[in-house]
Subunit: 247 residues, 2 copies
DNA sequence: AGACCTCTTTGACCCAGATCAATTGGTACA
DNA sequence: TGTACCAATTGATCTGGGTCAAAGAGGTCT
């Protein structure tokens, strides 16, 4: 697909692998070993990184950019089943094939580990295995939280839920706490939002307009969003507990 | 809640823990150690086994009966996020609180391990940790498969999807292969089915009647189901690949 | 500047599934 | 044998979101 990304100069110290993904609590010698089998790859917006059913040669995490996990029915209906933001992990150690398409939504850089050596390392260092279990449990929680969104929320609540997730993730990476207005650029087209939420793009557009009219969000251009009152948004989303869900 | 189940005479040899859950590939001395911290509990139909937010003192797997994982919004809307059939595992090693309610749908017997000793054992025996990672990845796949059902399928397809899951799970436990008609008892009320599928109970009832009228299923009484042609049911479900999804 | 993109918004209409309500059937209990 | 209770069915009507169609709003290329 793509040559190891020579375009970026990232070193492990700015690679999110350090603070959120695999080696969060690793000892330095374990980090060392991860370093040795690490490499970078970059993909352009729109490119499919992994096709469902393909065998995956690597695992890794997102350094910059956005990707999505998508499932498609034969007649073309698609449902996004996961959103990969910087520092999120992709891959199924111990599994052969991919279960869904992974598609780059923006230009994206990934920090990869070849699968075989990674699995070997995992066997030798239980700490990495435990960390992976933890990450997988997080993803499972997020997936189940999302099942509630898909199954029971209205279109307006769905949009609000998605915005609040993106806002929180964005904030935790860039700025300080969630006090005061939050500002971010939507990394998704209306169509991608629709695929995530089980809606049509027209409904997404209408509900965005409605939330704007009601002052819940402010929009400059199509993508630049300001959220004056995060609490208000979360009420709209139907989860009043500021409950920590994580995508 | 309940005393360790003296009502059952199960020994580990008939406990599903052996063939599908934690110790599937364990050595005998590891099994030995699991035996030591194992105990049984039983719950009555309708009883809540664990409340969302409670701290959970145990992990375990279902020996007999059915339980569900359920999420509830403040206004009472509920979404079932998982179905626990015999041999399924519950619990989040390394996590404090439960993320959702676990409710016994029928009378149920569980094979439990106290959490602390189980976690200790997990640290000592990487094989158990790996087995857990595998199980969690399975659950994640199932959850994401279900996201497609919730987000993109019609009511009829949803019902067919649920029936085909239950039929396959049931068959793999009781009879031989999936050839010839399949027969089973629905372990869920129409309301529970609705909560699983993001529908109302009336819609579930109507679609069950429609599938019956069209000869896709046969019904005796309210719960006893015969599926004359499994392939037909799977077409109705919208997944034509006989794809292995596992609840 | 104009032609051509792709993404987005908005309007008009329709329908699958929700809602409200009445009826049926089974079974437990007195 | 009646009444009380629950799960399930079925009917009538309403509505949120889908569908189809037309425009607007930035971009980019020549």
């Amino acid at each position: 697909m793509n040559a190891p990304g020579p375009t970026i100069s990232a070193t492990c110290s700015d690679c999110p692998i350090r603070h959120r993904a695999v080696c969060a609590q690793c000892e330095s010698d374990e980090l060392e070993q991860l370093e040795e089998i690490k490499y970078y790859r970059s993909f352009e917006a729109g490119q499919t990184i992994i096709w469902s059913g393909d065998k995956m040669g690597f695992v890794g995490s997102v350094v910059s950019g956005i990707a999505t996990l998508t499932q498609t029915m034969e007649d073309g209906r698609t449902q996004m089943v996961g959103l990969l933001l910087p520092s999120d992990f992709v891959g199924r150690p111990g599994r052969e094939g991919a279960a869904y398409d992974v598609v780059a939504t923006t230009d994206i850089v990934m920090c990869c580990f070849r699968k075989k050596p990674f699995e070997d390392l995992m066997v030798k260092t239980p700490r990495i295995a435990h960390r992976l279990l933890e990450m997988t449990l997080d993803e499972l929680d997020a997936a189940r939280e999302w099942m509630l969104v898909l199954g029971r929320k209205t279109a307006r609540e769905k949009i609000a839920s998605l915005l609040s997730i993106i806002a929180r993730r964005d904030a935790s990476l860039n700025t300080g706490g969630p006090s005061g207005p939050m500002v971010f650029d939507l990394p998704l087209t209306r169509e991608a939002m629709a695929d995530y939420l089980g809606l049509t793009l027209e409904t997404v557009s209408r509900q965005m307009s409605a939330l704007k009219k009601d002052g819940v969000i402010r929009l400059e251009g199509k993508r630049h969003v300001t959220i004056p009152d995060m609490g208000r948004l979360m009420e709209e989303a139907g989860d009043d507990s500021d409950g920590g869900f994580l995508v």
